[in-house]
Symmetry: none
Subunit: 225 residues, 2 copies
DNA sequence: TCCTCAATCAGTAAAATCCGCATCCCCTTG
DNA sequence: CAAGGGGATGCGGATTTTACTGATTGAGGA
């Protein structure tokens, strides 16, 4: 369990860190708004404890930023700014809990436990589909009727192009640019090789889908003959 | 959104119900411990608001009962019994939030919003499981068919990632971030070493589970060959 | 028919990973 | 405060996987 502690009072922060570490958590401390932004956007934490008053950046702005960047980590706002209005603003701003200073350390720990015991979903698997073919963008995995095939990096980049544009003719240049970058310095013929690899995989998996050649232009993902 | 309101003060309960309904929730009220048990065990609610003081049944006992019956609905305890000790007992008893009376109705609504906007909390997951493998997050202990293996700190952090996301491919840098922190200044290759350690442990324990390599991406916990 | 583009595939270069070892660091113990 | 031990780290050779090249064969279009 890894917790990010965002608190400008360095002394308090260290003390709190000790307490949390004693309770068995990994704790990272940051003291400034600028650092906070960087760390908070790392998708590695199970919980963030956020001070409302940060030099350089308002806590709520940071919270909003975090949520806008699809970081779903639970956030506990712990702060001296503690009117009912502020609590409401904090909770509606995306906080999962709000506790006013001064607080009892044991209560804080209890609230941390309550927040942390939910499942930590790391990321939803994005999956593209065409016919009987499924392709998981995250894990580079191709799947037909439960049979699976792991793709290498290049194969995966190429397959992603096709799955995002099924039944569309994709020019060789376009594909090449997407897989090897705009200034790829490898032989153009390499693309053929990877088309070949993908076709082999599709055949092995007995997929309905296949890659058709459009002579002089490029390729297209479509229903195989 | 359906909310169960458990509150012995009938007048307060009705008032609260009105407020919640005005905010767009479906609300069911119960006034007695006996009714509360029946309703709380229906797995149809998105949130329960629970008074600590119930005639016939203590709120915390009810909470325990709810959790023992695998009801994972978020619970907000709202009560006049409001010392730090009580809060801690409530939160550790399975509550997701705890607010003392008298409270501001707007704050209550804000806390309700915060609770319902995320997936339900679960029983404190003392033990994660996958196949024949059990992992105790607290004690860093791995267990297969009664055979035990104590993990070191780094091993434990790594194993926790896998057990929380079994059969998901986890990227190298994700794992690295969770084990060594976002700015870990150690050699990246260390991750290999710890994967190696975990594999050795899994083999020693003769577990069905194994860690597969996803070349160029990362690793995945899955059934061993 | 001739010419161009594509398909296939083997062989090699490069990269990522595995895995053991030596060292360092820190905590505990005597 | 020195010794011992476990864990953490860095290194590097062996191994596996992927990436790339180029030669050969096949298919289309003018």
């Amino acid at each position: 369990m890894r917790i990010l502690l965002i608190e400008d009072d360095q002394q308090l922060c260290e003390a709190l860190k000790l307490q949390l570490e004693h309770a068995g958590y990994q704790v990272d401390c940051v003291y400034h708004g600028a650092d906070a932004v960087y760390y908070a956007l790392q998708p590695v934490y199970d919980l963030m404890i956020l001070d409302r008053m940060l030099p350089g950046l308002d806590g709520l702005s940071l919270l909003r930023l975090i949520r806008e960047n699809q970081i779903q980590t639970p956030v506990l706002v712990a702060t001296a700014v503690d009117s009912v209005q502020e609590r409401i603003a904090g909770l509606d701003g995306g906080a999962d809990d709000y506790i006013g200073k001064p607080y009892d350390i044991e209560e804080l720990l209890a609230r941390v436990r309550a927040l942390v015991r939910r499942p930590a979903a790391i990321e939803p698997a994005k999956c593209l589909q065409y016919k009987d073919l499924e392709y998981d963008v995250q894990s580079h995995e191709l799947c037909v009727h439960g049979k699976r095939q792991q793709l290498s990096r290049r194969e995966a980049l190429l397959m992603e192009c096709f799955m995002q544009n099924p039944e569309k003719t994709l020019a060789r240049n376009l594909l090449f640019g997407r897989v090897w970058g705009p200034d790829g310095l490898v032989e153009d013929g390499n693309l053929d090789t990877y088309i070949y690899y993908l076709r082999k995989h599709l055949k092995t998996l007995h997929s309905e889908a296949g890659i058709a050649t459009v002579h002089g232009l490029g390729y297209r993902l479509e229903k195989a003959l």
